[in-house]
């Protein structure tokens, strides 16, 4: 038995994960999605997958992740995360709906399907400042702060003219007056294993945009809401991003299905890669009583 590890770009995270599997003596089949020849007209073929007990997806592209994992699941393979989780987390509107269905608190969030309606919502409901986010995308890219109607008109027109059809679903959110930091909680299975604060002078507190990290202690509140958010999107290996709203308390901003964690190991003292590897192996029944079978 072995595991399949899906990754094209090998970031610090993938190296740590491969090291964790090596330390456990696990046989890893590395699969680069750019080199897969995928039959979709049949579920036969692909003998190299026969002895794969579980698939650990670390693809960096949402489309690749969602499509490839669904194809492997169609062949009966056990994948972490599941395609359902990937599709829910990879689309902010679907994440919001999943959180709403589970009554997990989130900022005031509206969706419009036309720039005119988006402006109506901003003018009459959310007010300014507000935030517009692409439904698909990460690292804070194209997350824009709209301080007034002029900014809103400019950004809405940009995306209508320059964007592709995935920008026609316009996701708008209240700007939370956060205290210069947000929280990222790492949830594996049902368990919140660690959390960090991300600090930034900029209103976007993303480490890909220069935010610094420090440990965040696991309060009962945080554990409860982070694990509820993870469960709401389907569970697995997830990073829940939260903000502390002065009035509303902890609110969930998004849930990440392909989380980065290189800066969080030192801050938290938790070996996140090891926890992830053990969870994946446990899914395949390859981890029994703390050792690899």
């Amino acid at each position: 038995m072995r595991i399949a590890f899906l990754a094209s770009r090998v970031r610090a995270e993938e190296k740590l994960l491969l090291e964790a599997y090596a330390a456990r003596g696990v046989d890893v089949l590395r699969v680069d999605p750019r080199r897969i020849d995928l039959r979709v007209d049949s579920l036969r073929g692909g003998a190299e997958w026969d002895d794969v007990a579980v698939v650990h997806d670390r693809s960096i592209s949402f489309a690749t992740s969602a499509h490839l994992v669904e194809a492997l699941e169609s062949r009966g393979m056990n994948c972490v995360n599941t395609s359902r989780v990937i599709r829910t987390c990879g689309d902010k509107m679907r994440t919001s709906l999943a959180l709403a269905r589970a009554a997990v608190p989130q900022p005031h969030t509206r969706v419009a399907f036309s720039p005119e309606q988006a402006l109506e919502i901003l003018e009459h409901e959310l007010g300014y400042p507000a935030v517009i986010k692409p439904t698909v995308g990460s690292w804070g890219r194209m997350v824009a702060r709209l301080n007034d109607r002029d900014a809103a008109e400019a950004v809405l027109e940009d995306r209508a003219v320059l964007g592709n059809w995935t920008h026609r679903t316009i996701y708008l959110q209240q700007l939370v007056d956060k205290p210069g930091r947000d929280i990222r909680a790492f949830v594996i299975g049902e368990q919140v294993i660690a959390a960090i604060h991300r600090h930034s002078e900029h209103w976007v507190t993303n480490t890909a945009r220069g935010a610094t990290t420090s440990n965040c202690s696991l309060s009962l509140d945080l554990v409860e809401i982070a694990s509820a958010a993870a469960k709401a999107v389907g569970g697995g290996i997830l990073a829940v991003d939260l903000v502390e709203d002065p009035q509303q308390g902890l609110l969930v901003l998004e849930v990440n299905h392909g989380m980065e964690f290189r800066n969080s190991i030192e801050a938290t003292g938790v070996d996140i890669a090891a926890e992830m590897a053990d969870f994946v192996l446990a899914q395949a029944g390859m981890l029994v009583g703390g050792g690899v079978r």
């Binding site: 993938e14 590395r30 960096i60 949402f62 489309a63 690292w139 890909a208 392909g258 980065e260």
Partner: protein, 54 residues
């Protein structure tokens, strides 16, 4: 050793490098991907796509 496909400076591919790993060129700062280990071979890493991320 391998060479940067952009600025041609010689780059030492670390012994523990793996296929798919990204290195920054010491000469021109280009993002390079290790596409082969033995012998080491580098190419320009693909540009970030809109759906990339966590």
């Amino acid at each position: 050793m391998s060479n940067c496909p952009t600025c041609e400076i010689a780059i030492a591919v670390p012994a523990d490098a793996v296929e798919g790993e990204i290195l920054a060129c010491t000469g021109c700062d280009a993002e390079l991907e290790v596409i082969q280990l033995d012998p080491p071979s580098l190419c320009l890493a693909p540009e970030m796509d809109e759906d990339w991320g966590e």
